[in-house]
Symmetry: C2
Subunit: 319 residues, 2 copies
């Protein structure tokens, strides 16, 4: 079994690669080869099964070389993040929409129906939302990122229905606590305000303490991505898209929990500087979900923000 991870140098891609190599098998088959593809080099320990591939996913020839007759499973995580896709419309369209289409077209051309797990986002929802997002709630993205992800979902569904791929699309909550450095996602602060203060650095919070978010830890996200890959095709019925379960939490609750775990000195490193551009994007994201279908399919949420912060300390900070 050969696996490809696009956007594999991102933090989720890297953790997923480590997890896959550690397990050694997936979908009941042993992993012969894992291609970690990205524009940037991934930071992964050498492994005879691992191949780091650098390239531009918007180039059809690159995608043609990357996906072959041997490719059995693809995790398509490559994306231009929300804030950047809003500011650089053309780049967002190229990477989030056209590259996804290229990838799907390459799968169709190969004719071997590879399994494909697509990382979508709760940013597909927006506008006049009901109090709780159900599985049957209409998409109405209010960002170009959300629009492009929604298009990706529709295509994954149709390419699956036509048996060109065996696709699965997961609407990921905001991932908290991301390791590493801030990125250009509008949501990046939600990780920064925990990650940086725990390491003695200040972090800016651009939204009000009452702002609520729908979050998931990296551990759970990886677990859910692997679960999506393992579910049999029949489990999905006529819809290959699912909004993952998450945890609805306010910034205030995040800060309170951080204080309880790490003390008041740590939370004083959070600088409250409202930014209307970020507030507008984040304020348009839904927070309250009833993810019945995801739970029935066996996807899981975190239990508490305290658990999420503790997991970050265990996984990412020096002992």
């Amino acid at each position: 079994m050969q696996i490809v991870i696009t956007g594999g140098a991102g933090f989720l891609g890297q953790q997923l690669a480590r997890m896959l190599l550690g397990r050694g098998q997936i979908m009941g088959r042993s992993i012969q080869k894992l291609f970690v593809f990205d524009t940037n080099p991934a930071q992964l320990a050498a492994d005879p099964r691992l191949e780091l591939v650098r390239g531009d996913i918007t180039d059809p020839q690159t995608v043609r070389t990357l996906l072959t007759d041997e490719t059995g499973l693809i995790f398509h995580l490559a994306a231009v993040v929300s804030g950047e896709a809003e500011q650089n419309f053309e780049l967002g369209m190229q990477v989030n929409l056209l590259a996804t289409l290229n990838l799907l077209e390459r799968c169709r051309e190969l004719g071997r129906q590879p399994r494909l797990v697509f990382a979508s986002s709760v940013a597909v929802f927006g506008g006049d939302l009901p109090p709780v997002i159900e599985d049957g709630t209409a998409l109405n993205p209010q960002s170009s990122y959300g629009t492009q992800k929604a298009v990706g979902e529709l295509l994954v569904n149709d390419y699956s229905r036509k048996n060109f791929i065996d696709g699965r699309a997961l609407r990921l909550p905001t991932i908290v606590v991301r390791p590493g450095k801030p990125n250009k996602a509008a949501s990046t602060f939600a990780s920064s305000i925990i990650r940086e203060p725990l390491q003695g650095q200040t972090a800016v919070c651009p939204v009000a303490p009452a702002t609520r978010m729908w979050i998931q830890s990296p551990r759970r996200a990886i677990e859910n991505l692997l679960h999506a890959a393992e579910l049999p095709p029949d489990a999905w019925g006529n819809n290959r898209v699912v909004a993952l379960p998450g945890l609805a939490v306010s910034i205030q609750e995040m800060v309170d929990s951080l204080q309880e775990i790490a003390g008041e000195k740590v939370i004083r490193r959070i600088l409250w500087q409202p930014d209307p551009f970020i507030e507008k994007i984040v304020g348009g994201w839904p927070v309250d979900f009833a993810p019945q279908r995801a739970l029935a399919l066996g996807f899981r949420a975190d239990h508490s923000i305290a658990e999420i912060i503790q997991a970050f300390i265990e996984d990412e900070l020096p002992k």
Copy 2:
């Protein structure tokens, strides 16, 4: 004011062109030029304001020539119909998805925010539907045509939000009675079983009499397309897409009404030959809508199937 109709040689495009030339103005401005674009020649009477343009909408250079700084209003009706898009996946993707994207990109490039009315379809709905489709019901197209139209809607919304266009997308019910000849739409029979018998010819009905459809007459469809063009941008809020009001009617009710209007001899020309391919596509389309938003925006439905049949006789048959 210059206007472009893509797919202008289709029956809706031609009727729309005649109506526009007859009115002489729209959006409070007089019509200087009307470009009717299609691969086929439109059958329209000569008019100094009218220009028939033949070309391939999938060619970006053609679209670049068609849309200029002078273009104030675009009716984007060009499409590969449902049955054909299902059988020729590549053609459907080229015309319904990529050509729409090309058109929008050309508008963005021009930077003059033309008003654009996009013909979408109720085929964006499918799968496990609630008993009644509300404005907030999630899309889950079960055909490539429906998928491609859903992508078009998302893009029209995002390009409008970004002020690249002033877009409006209408989900058209099945249009009954279409004049002319049968086409490759899965729904074409719904017009044939009225149109052909009224003209002494037989017509095949590939679905069961109990099959219900959500329909709209050509008169109402044209009226609604013009209304969409005239509505001010503010009326739309954060969603430029609306499902038009229609009439839910069974094939049996259509046949009964035809018999009442034209006699038993006429309905004996309907040949009942079930076709599983057509039944599956049509059976997946939703029938019961609560189009609150469309009604609030001033869009209108037909009153009865009898009215629709009478209008066809008046408009299309020799006196």
